[in-house]
Amino acid sequence: MARFEVSQAIEETASPPAAVAQPRAALTRSLIGGLVTSLPVLVVGLLILNFAPTYYTYLALGAFVNLIVVVGLQVFMGNSNIANLGHSAFVGLGAYGVAILSTPLAMKKLSIPNAPFGFATLQLDPVSSALIALIMVGIVAAVSGKVISRLSGVAATIVSLALLIIVHSVFLNWTNLFKGNQAFFGIPKVVGLPWMMVFSVVVIVLARLFKDSRWGLQLRASAQSPQAAAALGIDARRLRLMSWVLSALICGLAGVLYAYFAGTISPKLFYFQMIFNTLAMLILGGMATVTGAVTGVIVLSVGLEFIRSIESGVTIAGIQLPQLLGLSGVALGVVIVLCMAFRPSGISGRYELDELLSRLFRRNAK
């Protein structure tokens, strides 16, 4: 995936020579870059907030959750270049965390009356529940990250997959706490589109700051050439662990927000379907950049919604098309295959939105 594209690189115009960045200037640039990248998200969100019917608002909320998950996924995958197939476990842990902590007692009597550790009689406010849930996610991430960061490549990916299966089995079988296969309902619905937009922007900026930080740069370098990075004294394990935990926390936040807007969750939401959806989004958009994560979510969310409308059978020019159930699943697979075959670096390639814009302006100015 880290294939070097010579043609693309040769096209570039050289930056002004000897423009050695001042540290503070670099920080500001990366901050502004993050904000520029989140601009399209804000525009889409505001449009939906003000003009769209309720049904679309609901869809948009789901898309925003996916956005946060995909950005979280990018933090680990994009910088370490290791495929992660376990991130929705953290989304699930975040969601179940707040479900167990913040659901009103009356509801708990119905759903988890026999919860251990006194959770059946405990009800916290949404904010403290979210914080505690995220701390739990952080702990699970730190422990699993200890294992993952020692591995690289396929081995790490397999461990991430194992983590997904373990967490899913716990959700399914620890029925006293997680209610098993049944839906966990009654979670306070305290998050709407505005909050979702705020957190999306925060997460996008955070991901960009990490990518441009010395840790992000060192991690990207060690992914490209482990040997050279080691010879320069770069501790790849520590950096992988760091990005794994940050990635997990962002995914956990997505789960918290999902639970707080949907009010009802179940284990299957946080399983393979979510992994494939979000992975396809990241690959399509381009995993090397935060811009890629955002692009992939926007393109594939709109695309999948369009396909879903065809799926149920539509009438075009008087011809009734048959029902094409499962079309969206096929489309997802096709997107991944085509993308890997023809544009492995995704839609946005190697550059962030702000970098592309500044390149464009510079070229026009000449």
Binding site: P23, A231, G233
Partner: protein, 234 residues
Amino acid sequence: MLSVDNLVVRYGAVSAVRDLSLKVGRGELVALLGPNGAGKSSTINALTGLVTPASGRIVLDGQDISRVRTEDRIRAGLTSTPEGRHIFANLTVGENLRLGAAIRRDPKGVRQDIERFLALFPVLSERYGQAAGTLSGGEQQMLAIARSLMSRPKLLLLDEPSLGLAPKIVVQIFDFIGELKAEGLTLLVVEQNARQALRFADRVYVVSAGTLRHSGPPSSLADEHGLFNLYIGG
């Protein structure tokens, strides 16, 4: 400055380096020569901490660093440029240089050093914001050496700087290595290309099959013509 005593490096049952001892004095350029698979790179990797030696002592400036992490060896002043350059092709020239200073915590000094290298190598300055993979082989080797120098080493280990480069470029690279020596840097250069390595070398070690076969001034190699041919091949 550096002294290695009875170094042994093993990969499983295979010994790559057997009982190797060598010394590098301050300001010296020492060449470590030998054919492919002689254990030269294993020696370098043991010196930088990328592999743990089975036994033996590595002492830098009186401090035993045999079991110290790579990071701390770099802090102590020992940096290496790995074989085959291994520049970060997708990252810019500037980012490559910054990464060379990964262990440093003085942003101002790092910036000054980057500016110094850009002044020294106009090519790197022209391509500062460009992906390092667009550089030619020789330019990449220059970048790799400059990147290592970003950690401000006292002793630089160069692993096969001539690898895969055209003869004309190799001469340029060694001219630069000679300049580094003239500036007072201590160097240990591992090479197969004996002729170039001997241009600036103060002393030479020849290894083969993991053991030291010869040591002495460069002229001693030229005298014992048989040895030269046997281990270096012309």
